[in-house]
């Protein structure tokens, strides 16, 4: 065997194994990195090279056995040793628990049409809104709009005005269409900076800036809005509180919001909903309930699509391991490493 071949072989070994090989052969081998280790191993007299090869080949059969058990594993994968001292402790039993692509793609389809049943948290949000403010922080797409609609319906039933704010004009327009279908065109109005459409409707849609301006005007005395009949303020996408330019508007709106009006804050998952609830409890007279969960109504799975068109699971588990220690699927890790090597290599040319 030529030195080049040995070098190639050593390069393919994990550094842990190189240390194992260097033990007893190289003085203070633990001080060396991979490149220096290989250099030192190659610098040994040629008869040592054969012993190194022998040692390596003693490890090989176990690797090949693993490879045959998992044909999907490519030949370039790191031969994983079965000897206890070389096994990586971080992912024991990983191979056994890995999902396959078939598992990942299992169960795709359209659910049979079911009558709509509100979730428990949705009902809770609506009942809690009777006695105080409510903050809803749930994952995207779990049905925050249902809470908004039901709360608005309740408030309108007792002749209270409802204001619904969204951060973007485009979203306001979408909501307008949606609410007009639900409540009828005469009961929904929209206010924008330069235009007022049906401003005396019981349900008003506007951007948060407009509501802030209304609250300013109401405080300044020139009241042109029925703020005394205002029963509910819905702030959609209230994670905009963290927006560097516009966050201040949400804050002002919450501070200046009249006491008799209930606040309903709808937001996507955020890091510190308790803190925000604590703040609102601190500044407003009515109690404030936080409704928060991380459960997705439609389960979400993650996959990795290689540029060659091969799909593999992203994680070793089928569902996304939220808030748990996670590991990449070994196949994905291999493909991605290969991808990185090739793209990084081709960038050099």
């Amino acid at each position: 065997m030529r030195t080049d071949d040995l070098k190639q072989l050593l390069h393919e070994q994990p550094v842990k194994r190189l240390h194992w090989l260097a033990k007893g052969r190289i003085h203070r081998h633990f001080r060396l990195g991979k490149a220096r280790l290989i250099q030192a191993l190659l610098a040994l007299p040629p008869e040592q090279h054969h012993q190194i090869l022998d040692d390596l080949s003693r490890l090989r059969p176990s690797t090949q056995r693993t490879a045959t058990r998992h044909p999907s594993q490519g030949s370039r994968a790191h031969p994983r040793s079965e000897t206890p001292r070389l096994a990586t402790p971080s992912h024991p039993d990983q191979r056994e628990s890995c999902v396959t692509v078939a598992d990942l793609l299992e169960g795709i389809g359209v659910p049979p049409p079911q009558p709509f049943h509100p979730d428990a948290w949705q009902e809770e949000a609506i009942t809690r809104l009777r006695e105080g403010d409510v903050i809803v922080s749930v994952p995207t797409g779990s049905g925050k709009t249902y809470v908004a609609i039901e709360a608005a319906r309740q408030a309108m039933a007792v002749d209270r005005t409802v204001i619904y704010t969204s951060p973007l004009k485009a979203l306001s327009n979408t909501k307008l269409t949606e609410f007009v279908q639900l409540f009828g065109a005469d009961r929904v109005g929209i206010l924008t900076g330069e235009r007022r459409h049906n401003p005396h409707a019981p349900l008003l849609i506007m951007t948060t800036e407009i509501l802030r301006n209304l609250l300013y005007d109401a405080a300044g005395g020139e009241i042109d809005m029925r703020l005394d009949t205002l029963g509910l303020v819905i702030l959609d996408e209230s994670q905009y509180l963290a927006d560097p330019e516009r966050g201040v508007v949400w804050e002002e709106t919450i501070i200046l919001c009249p006491t008799q009006a209930r606040l309903l804050l709808l937001s996507a998952s955020i890091g510190n909903p308790e803190e925000i609830a604590e703040w609102i409890r601190h500044i407003r007279a009515v109690p404030c309930t936080l409704i928060q969960h991380h459960h997705r109504s439609v389960p979400l799975r993650a996959g990795y699509l290689h540029p060659s068109g091969k799909l593999t699971p992203l994680f070793t588990t089928r569902d996304i391991p939220r808030g748990q220690p996670h590991a990449l699927h070994p196949e994905t890790r291999r493909l991605f490493a290969e991808y990185e090597r090739e793209t990084l290599g081709s960038r050099g040319h």
Binding site: L105, P244, A268, P307, G309, L311
Partner: protein, 625 residues
């Protein structure tokens, strides 16, 4: 050594292949998030190149949905991507498109007609429609010219669009690599907890004016204390205070303590001995005396411990250089008395002809004075005089301050042992106290800074009431409000053409510095903008000046000055994306409408604004409320 690679992997999966694969695995409809608008548009273009059309029945359903949308929003019909969408079942959705187009795409997605929508990561919140699959290709996003990594909340916002309630049993996130992707960022984003929200409270001029309109200063202080910003700052402060307490506890060992060192005691005894008042030094006048001196001119009537008198001359005593007076008292005697004894100074003077020798005035006037002193009215108005506090103790430096080791102590080396630790603790203590104070008063301090500026410009009186200017200025609630209100006060907009007004406001509203090709601006607009730029520059220390791009201003001007121009022709005059142009005009329209609100105080300007609004609202800008 030459390495021959068997096959170079494509850096990114081809969009057509991507959609084909997703179709094959039954993962459509999908939202594909790409980094740039251009990437989205090119992805759509690539479908044209490959030419893999949809089956005819699906194209027909797409056409039906589109017809419905076009009836509501006619501008969709002219969209150049319309045939592509119909033929291939894919669409691009990003901020460069008109809102009506985005609504059309959303409508198509809601009906499940499309296989893939290519969207930018920048506007994740604007993508308000779900799909079965979300494809993520990048781990970073371009924000203000820099690539920043996607945050956990952003990734969850993106991935949250996967899986439609009621239409899917499971949703998918598919990660497909592109160069520079960091898989770790994405896995962390999918599995981790989103970032906590930090308050972004800033104080602006319109906020100050509007708060002062309705509330008193005390009330505003309590309002500011109610802000989330202050809530979070208070939490920080509480944490720091706890730390301060531990530091104080540690510092107690080094705090003020009686110094037992005999050298020190001897030293302070020595200091006290030598620190006697010098006998012959020039006497420094105490503050009460200094306050009296300017009034004690010859002829002034003063009150003395015994009766009243009139000052004949003022001089300094020979020995101690004390301020002295020569007074003619009511007993017609000329006496000398130190200024310190004067009990009262009256607002009453008598005529006197001074002389250089005793009795310090001419004999004739002395006669008259004697008479006049006797006949002084019973009640005289006096000046208020500062009280003599009598605090004339010996000024000795305190031997035992809380400085440790005592800075002047001769036996300092003896105490030096734990000096380093004490010094470090003391520094920390001082720093913490300062920080806590700064944190607690930060918002209020910034509010006061803004108040001062507004007072300086005359929007607020010294007592924080709104002036006449402040009353209307509070209605201008935009980012660069100070610039706009100052321009209005300078009559910069009096009798201005609506087109020029819109041009100027467009340049104030636009906050993007992306270059491009724009229509020519008129010379009038250029000169007005030059003036605006001067004003903005002079206000730079109070308010960040806007970009004031003249090329963008020309765009606003053109839309008004040529009312017959259609939207399509208008957009073709510039390289700016259609959606950006729309947003620029919509924003400008909002600014104009704020000027329109000044009807009561500036009827002329409001009229011009009204005309401008009429002219602006046409074609696409009229479609959406």
């Amino acid at each position: 050594m030459l390495v021959v690679k068997p096959q170079v992997m494509p850096p990114v999966i081809h969009p057509v292949d991507l959609v084909q694969t997703l179709r094959h695995k039954r993962l459509t409809p999908a939202i594909v998030f790409l980094t740039s608008r251009r990437a989205c548009d090119e992805a759509i273009d690539s479908f044209e190149h490959r030419n893999v059309p949809l089956p005819a029945h699906r194209s027909r359903t797409i056409a039906q949905v589109l017809d419905h949308v076009i009836r509501l929003y006619p501008s969709v019909a002219q969209h150049p991507l319309l045939p592509t969408v119909q033929r291939y079942g894919v669409a691009a959705h990003h901020a460069g498109h008109l809102p009506s187009w985005k609504i059309a795409v959303e409508e198509l997605m809601r009906h499940g007609c499309l296989d893939a929508v290519f969207a930018t990561t920048t506007l994740a919140a604007g993508v308000d429609f779900p799909a079965r699959t979300v494809v993520i290709t990048q781990s970073s996003v371009r924000k203000a010219r820099d690539l920043t990594e996607l945050t956990v909340s952003e990734i969850q916002q993106l991935s949250g669009r996967g899986g439609r309630r009621g239409k899917d049993l499971v949703g998918f996130v598919v990660v497909t690599p592109s160069p520079y992707i960091d898989l770790h960022v994405i896995t962390r984003g999918l599995t981790g907890n989103p970032e906590p929200i930090h308050s972004q409270f800033v104080i602006s001029y319109p906020m100050v004016l509007n708060l002062l309109k309705a509330h008193t200063l005390d009330h505003i202080k309590s309002i500011l204390e109610k802000s989330f910003a202050q809530f979070q700052l208070n939490q920080q402060a509480t944490a720091l205070e706890e730390k301060l307490e531990t530091v104080e506890a540690q510092l107690a060992a080094f705090g003020p303590r009686p110094c037992a060192d005999w050298i020190t005691q001897w030293h302070w005894f020595n200091l006290a001995q030598t620190h006697r008042r010098p006998r012959h030094a020039i006497c420094q006048d105490a503050p009460p005396i200094l306050a009296r001196l300017p009034f004690l001119t010859p002829g002034r009537v003063v009150g003395l411990p015994k009766g009243r008198g009139v000052v004949l001359r003022r001089y300094r005593s020979r020995s101690q250089h004390r301020a002295m007076l020569t007074v003619l008292n009511t007993q017609e005697r000329i006496i000398e008395c130190p200024v310190a004894q004067v009990t009262e100074i009256y607002d009453h003077t008598l005529n006197i002809e001074p002389a250089r020798v005793f009795p310090w005035c001419t004999p004739k006037s002395l006669q008259r004075l004697m008479r006049e002193v006797r006949e002084l009215p019973q009640h005289l108005q006096g000046f208020p005089l500062p009280e003599d506090t009598g605090n004339d103790s010996v000024m000795l430096p305190e031997p035992l301050t809380d400085e440790f080791p005592c800075p002047m102590c001769p036996s300092q080396p003896a105490c030096r042992k734990d000096y380093t630790k004490a010094w470090r603790l003391r520094q920390e203590h001082q720093q913490l106290t300062k920080t806590i104070h700064a944190i607690r008063s930060q918002l209020w301090h910034r509010f006061q800074q803004h108040v001062e500026v507004l007072q300086q410009f005359g929007y607020l009186t010294a007592t924080c009431q709104l002036t006449a200017d402040g009353e209307w200025a509070r209605l201008i609630r935009i980012n660069h409000s100070l610039l706009l209100t100052e321009l209005i006060r300078m009559d910069a907009f009096t009798g201005i053409e609506p087109a020029l007004l819109v041009g100027v406001l467009a340049s104030i509203a636009h906050e993007d510095d992306r270059p491009g090709i724009f229509p020519r601006r008129s010379p009038a607009l250029a000169s007005v903008l030059g003036q605006v730029r001067t004003v903005a520059h002079s206000l730079a220390s109070y308010e960040d000046p806007p970009l004031l791009r003249s090329d963008v201003a020309a765009l606003g001007e053109l839309w008004i000055s040529q009312p017959s121009l259609s939207w399509g022709e208008f957009v073709r005059t510039t390289t700016m994306a259609e959606g950006d142009v729309y947003r620029l005009l919509a924003r400008t329209l909002e600014y104009v409408s704020q000027l329109h609100n000044l009807k009561a105080t500036h009827p002329g300007l409001a009229d011009i604004a009204d005309q401008a609004m009429q002219l602006m609202r046409r074609d696409v800008l009229q479609e959406l409320p």
